[in-house]
């Protein structure tokens, strides 16, 4: 029987604390296990002895990867696509969102364009014609195949457009009276006042570019052009070996699991590094999407 009011309350507190902690750990432990495996000896890993701490600590997987030119080539392709793709996403989101945030009386085409863009956003175009189109443009095996098809982030355009609409019109009008043209209004007023929103959408497009693997797989015929996620996908998931004989010899000293875990961990690292920033911004990013009335 309940004797004091606070006792069941305390138990309840403990129960939810434990449940939440377990839920949190369920997402964290597999990642820690990967790190531990990557730092363990071959024998310990094949014996299934590694859980959360490295057994037979050594860095040989990482020294191996340091010398693996294919891994770093793929890494650099990813860096290139993140920089180029992120930049394109940023510029196009700003350039497209600004005219769409205007009133129809100032920009008569606004409504027609808005519907076309939204239609384009919800239209789930088929994989085969999408591939054939990119093939038609001769983009296969170039970095442009990885950045141009996704250069226009329509959802970000919508978010940014809603944000621009929330900026007081007085700022705009004052600049116009001083003789500024729309281009100057955009870069001197709208862009500086929307920096938090711009940072959020840019961060999201960077993560998107880093994580994308499928376009690399189908749009790159030459494995040398694979971005990192595609390279890892082929190696770890499809278990397709793209090694030369020298590497194969080195590999015999390492456990495949250890090496894979190290590769997965290095591929995760950039995300872990921007994660504090992401966490700071993404809640804002989600509420940005809402229309305030």
């Amino acid at each position: 029987m309940i004797t004091s009011k606070s006792l069941p309350d305390k138990i309840f507190d403990w129960v939810i604390s434990i449940v939440l902690l377990l839920l949190g750990l369920s997402t964290l432990l597999p990642l820690i296990n990967t790190l531990a495996v990557s730092l363990s000896s071959k024998a310990a890993v094949s014996g299934g002895m590694v859980t959360l701490l490295p057994v037979g600590f050594n860095l040989s997987a990482y020294t191996y990867i340091m010398q693996d030119s294919r891994f770093w080539r793929a890494f650099m392709v990813s860096v290139e696509r993140v920089v180029l793709g992120g930049l394109l996403n940023f510029v196009l989101a700003v350039l497209t969102a600004f005219p769409l945030s205007r009133e129809t009386k100032d920009f008569p085409l606004r409504n027609v364009l808005m519907w076309l863009f939204v239609f384009g956003m919800v239209l789930n175009v088929g994989l085969v014609p999408w591939f054939l189109t990119i093939n038609l443009y001769n983009l296969i095996d170039t970095i442009w195949a990885l950045v141009l098809p996704t250069a226009l982030p329509i959802w970000n355009v919508v978010i940014l457009m809603n944000y621009f609409r929330g900026i007081p019109k007085e700022l705009d009008e004052a600049a116009r009276i001083d003789g500024a043209n729309p281009w100057q209004v955009l870069w001197h007023i709208y862009v500086p006042t929307s920096l938090p929103a711009l940072a959020t959408i840019t961060l999201f497009s960077i993560v998107g570019h880093w994580n994308s693997f499928f376009d690399g797989l189908i749009l790159m015929n030459n494995p040398d052009n694979y971005p990192l996620q595609t390279y890892i996908q082929q190696l770890v998931i499809a278990e397709r070996s793209i090694l030369n004989s020298g590497q194969a010899q080195l590999l015999s000293k390492l456990s495949n699991n250890t090496l894979n875990a190290a590769k997965l961990f290095i591929a995760m690292l950039p995300i872990l590094m921007v994660y504090p920033l992401l966490q700071q911004y993404f809640i804002r990013g989600i509420t940005l999407g809402a229309v305030k009335e």
């Binding site: 839920l23 949190g24 014609p129 043209n181």
Partner: protein, 296 residues
């Protein structure tokens, strides 16, 4: 104050985006006419013979199509339902947690998986779900026999559903946490005065308070019941589990690109495009009517 020169500026600014929209969305849409052809890349659209609805007729004859369609619907709808249930429970519990450092720590842990790619997570899952992997080792403590998570067709769809929930529940909970903070604290006080306990406060105050958000998320989910999660399944499945794990998108990839049956792949894709568009229309209307949702 309408100025003609302003309008010209705006048109110029929107032009690059519009060109990309045409080049990578509308041109592929036009290219979809090869669904009505026996497309041969060497001949192109102009040279390939037209076959009317043959590809679609074939689609309805092959047994694969039905399997793939039902798998997609099952996996996608179970994902939507279970993801929302777990996210709601998680948000309710987290909202009730008074120990702030733990709250922050848990939040930091659960959002991370959302930002990791399915390539990486599948790599991790393949290792921990393997025969001698972490999960089977753990189950062995309770003398449960090893489960072939990725090789048993009966288990595989649940691995997909479970791992999707695992990856996304934290992030999905953010909208519910935001809705919970918007509930007027007076309502909780009033409930307390009436003698409500913590469960009762959740049931009679919190849940009704986030009901519009629940309705919204479910409505928006309707639009994605044909997207069962290509990236995830592509990185976890294998021919042994095609019977229960193959979905429209993976099927289109194999048939259309790997086997080079361009027209058949396009036909499947086009059907999906059309049905998806209708579903998204319905989901948006529902979200708009039931939860006053608008995107612009």
């Amino acid at each position: 104050m309408f100025k003609k020169s302003d309008s010209a500026w705006y048109t110029l600014m929107v032009l690059p985006g519009f060109i990309l929209l045409v080049a990578f969305t509308f041109v592929p849409l036009v290219y979809s006419v090869i669904a009505f052809q026996k497309f041969n890349p060497a001949l192109g659209i102009q040279g390939s013979p037209w076959v009317g609805l043959d590809n679609f007729a074939m689609l309805f004859r092959i047994p694969d199509a039905r399997v793939v369609f039902t798998n997609t619907l099952f996996i996608a709808s179970m994902k939507i339902i279970l993801l929302e249930v777990v996210a709601i429970i998680f948000a309710l519990l987290l909202n009730d947690l008074r120990f702030i450092p733990l709250k922050k720590a848990v939040q930091t842990m659960v959002y991370l998986t959302h930002f990791l790619s399915w390539v990486i997570l599948a790599g991790i899952l393949r290792s921990i779900l393997a025969r001698g992997g972490l999960v089977n080792d753990f189950l062995a403590i309770f003398s449960i026999k090893p489960i072939y998570f990725l090789g048993n067709p009966d288990v595989f769809p649940w691995v997909l559903i479970g791992s999707e929930v695992w990856k996304e529940f934290g992030f999905e909970a953010i909208v519910y946490l935001a809705a919970l903070t918007a509930i007027n604290p007076n309502l909780y006080e009033a409930a307390e005065m009436d003698g409500a306990g913590r469960f009762q406060k959740m049931w009679y105050v919190s849940i009704p308070g986030i009901a519009p958000t629940i309705v919204l998320m479910i409505s928006l989910g309707i639009g994605s019941v044909l997207n069962a999660g290509f990236d995830q399944i592509f990185n976890l499945y294998s021919p042994i589990v095609y019977t229960t794990g193959d979905i429209i998108d993976t099927y289109v990839y194999r048939v259309g690109l790997t086997q080079g049956l361009y027209s058949l792949g396009t036909a499947v894709g086009l059907l999906k495009t059309v049905v998806s568009l209708i579903l998204i229309g319905i989901s948006y209307l529902a979200a708009n009517k039931l939860a006053n949702y608008r995107i612009f």
